[in-house]
């Protein structure tokens, strides 16, 4: 049995639903935040995610980061040595999707060449009439950039746990791979 710990950065444009997603995940879907609150710097939340088929678990330290440009200097410091990435965009907002590239680039600078697990998350899929970013397009971009992909609606409580299960499982897999390498050294 092992309990891993991962620093997971949650980033993306402002008002795409990062805080709502993280809060919903951490309080097990008990509460959907109806009013918008501007996140300043970073809010840190922790949740333990069990790894299916094992007795292992991953403690995710979720760094829910401000989407507003205003706080970007603070973020670079708080993001040091990340273990996993979660980039959120709004499927009804084209710009929030195109800006995912910018967020990814900023996060990659922090990882200094180390591959770390990441997921691109399309939120607000309940707003079907207003949708402008198609699943296929986003999925292709995610794949091309080494990210996994999932779509959610925090408001409808649909699939909101998926992004974190994806990164926790990837992080666990990474640990197992590393232990194999450690075993082969001597």
């Amino acid at each position: 049995m092992v309990k891993l710990a991962a620093k997971c950065i949650v980033a993306g444009d402002s008002a795409v639903g990062k805080t709502a997603l993280v809060q919903m995940f951490c309080n097990d879907g008990a509460h959907f935040q109806k009013n918008y609150t501007l996140t300043i710097g970073v809010e840190l939340l922790m949740k333990t995610v069990p790894i299916p088929g094992t007795n292992d678990s991953v403690e995710l330290f979720l760094f829910d980061s401000a989407g507003k440009e205003l706080f970007s200097e603070i973020l670079d410091k708080l993001w040091e040595q990340p273990n996993a990435l979660c980039i959120v965009y709004d499927v009804t907002n084209e710009q929030s999707f195109s800006n995912s590239a910018k967020w990814l680039e900023r996060l990659r600078i922090q990882t200094s060449g180390i591959h770390i697990p990441g997921v691109l998350v399309g939120n607000k899929i309940d707003l079907t009439d207003r949708r402008v970013v198609e699943r296929k397009q986003a999925q292709q971009w995610a794949e091309a950039n080494g990210l996994e992909y999932c779509e959610i609606s925090v408001k409808e409580m649909e699939n909101f746990e998926a992004p974190f299960h994806i990164v926790a499982n990837s992080f666990h897999r990474l640990y197992k791979e590393k232990v194999e390498i450690f075993n082969s050294l001597v």
Partner: protein, 146 residues
């Protein structure tokens, strides 16, 4: 008189604290005298462990066998309890793919009852520590406990 490695469970050493623990790769593997077994960190840095000796020992050479460690700090204490640590080493290590890092540190003799090893940063998400060796001249007669 002969050179003794004090960082061995068979010499009375113990790991009294480690910030990570995988049941399969526990911190005791650092002091079992074997390079094949290791302790793993399980995510996020810094990570540390503290080795206790069975008495105050004099060390003249310190070695560490590890993998993917980038910045390392080693402190020692001569107190009866694991407090009042003083830094004796801070070093940026190099790492070759697939090769165990074997770092030697030489210094004028130091005394210690505890060694604290802090891994400040790493070349990857996880590191392994296979052995710590603390060598010193031992006098066969000095078997006193605190």
């Amino acid at each position: 008189m002969k050179f003794t490695d004090y960082c061995l469970s068979s010499e009375g050493a113990g790991v009294i604290l480690a910030t990570s623990s995988d049941e399969i790769h526990p911190p005791e593997n650092i002091i079992d005298g074997r390079s094949e077994t290791f302790w793993t960190t399980t995510g996020m840095f810094p990570q540390e462990f503290i080795i206790s000796f069975h008495k105050c020992v004099t060390i003249s050479k310190l070695k560490i066998q590890c993998y993917l460690v980038q910045r390392l700090q080693i402190e020692k204490s001569i107190s009866k309890d694991p407090v009042d640590f003083e830094q004796c080493i801070e070093k940026e290590l190099l790492c070759k793919d697939g090769e165990l890092q074997m770092e030697d540190f030489s210094f004028p003799e130091i005394q210690a009852t505890y060694l604290r090893v802090i891994i400040l940063s790493a070349f990857d998400a996880f590191v392994s520590v296979h052995r710590v060796i603390a060598e010193g001249l031992s006098q066969e007669s000095s078997n006193s406990i605190f």
